[in-house]
Amino acid sequence: MSWLGPQEWAAVALSLKVAFWATLFALPPGVCVAVALARWRFPGREIVNGLVHLPLVLPPVVTGYLLLLTFGTRGWLGGALAEVGVVFAFRWTGAALAAGIMGFPLLVRAIRLSVEAVDPKLEQAAATLGASRAWVFITVTLPLILPGVIAGAVLAFAKAMGEFGATITFVSNIPGETQTLPLAVHNFLQVPGAEAAAWRLVVVSLVVSMGALLLSEWLARRVAARVAGR
């Protein structure tokens, strides 16, 4: 597609990379938090629940600003992490972090709903067959919540593809490093007459996301078919 310049292609590639890693890294903690919220009663449960929803409630710019305060080079965590070689500020990793955090509540909710729908009696049956808590989770719970995990991953991925406010606030707009598709689109929309270029990128973003969506639907159907008939 020669109608995209190298900078646009870079944005497309970056967005995919960011969304992929954001989703991948958000999944394990997402599953843990979802299971904890769905199944456990622990002190501070409501606080965790609140924190998870925070990125949804806050204006994205505020989330980005908070990320900057936390993970920036001068941030309390960012400084410490920098010493062990993990740097988020103004890096694509930061964009992934922002995207992951913005998508986290969506991920957690989807998985949590699935966990709540799992019949505990099946998990009990697994336990009587000798499976420890961890094994029950791996062999019974996880396969049964797979549709929810897929749904959550799709939401997080889609959100990561579209995330703008937190990303630009946290890691700025550095072409090739942090300029994801939405940032590139935003760039074009700011300039009179550049709408055409903006729409081109929107279309690319749609194609990619719809592809991911179709893939996930297909995956989910396969998983659901396996558990069919209940």
């Binding site: 920036g72 103004f90 890691v171 700025s172 707009n173 550095i174 935003h186 760039n187 929309l189």
Partner: protein, 213 residues
Amino acid sequence: VTVFAAASLKGALDEVAAAWNGEVQISYAGSSALARQIAAGAPADLFLSANPEWVDWLEADGVALKRVDLLSNALVLVAGADDPRAGLDQLKGQDRVAMALVDAVPAGIYGKAALESLGLWEAVAPRVVQADNVRAALALVALGEAPLGIVYATDARAEPGVRVVAEFPPMSHPPILYPVAALTEAGAPLMGFLQSAEAAEIFTRHGFGVIAE
């Protein structure tokens, strides 16, 4: 009266509006969003843009309006308040430079033009972090995330967390102009007040240059 104004005018314009004895509602957003909304029929009486291009765009789009260039601004290089450096030469170091979006937001566009005309752009470009708007760029410097920043003189004055390292020569970039456009008859009186001496005093206090008739 409903005023659509570029977000970067907020501090000064709020004061001017308060000084005016009439009902004013000001909607602050990016100039591009506001211009598009006006084109889409927004009930704005007055439009203060952060650059002339969006007013040109509106005129080209067939929106009837009456415009004047109201304010001007200057571009400065800033650093953290406790950073003792001075001079545009600081740009030649290895420090990150915070700017507004260099291809989209006026402050960024002017900044890029200035750097180009000074022959610095090639060297600086890889170190530029582009914020959504000039205030965000300013915040990056104030927070210490970026040691240097290129912002408007008005911003540098308002933010105690930064100090001016150098001013860009006015000739190094196109003139920084804030046009005001009256879109309805109702907007005319306020437009008049914006051009008054009383308003000029407030704008000047915030660091703007007031363009005489």
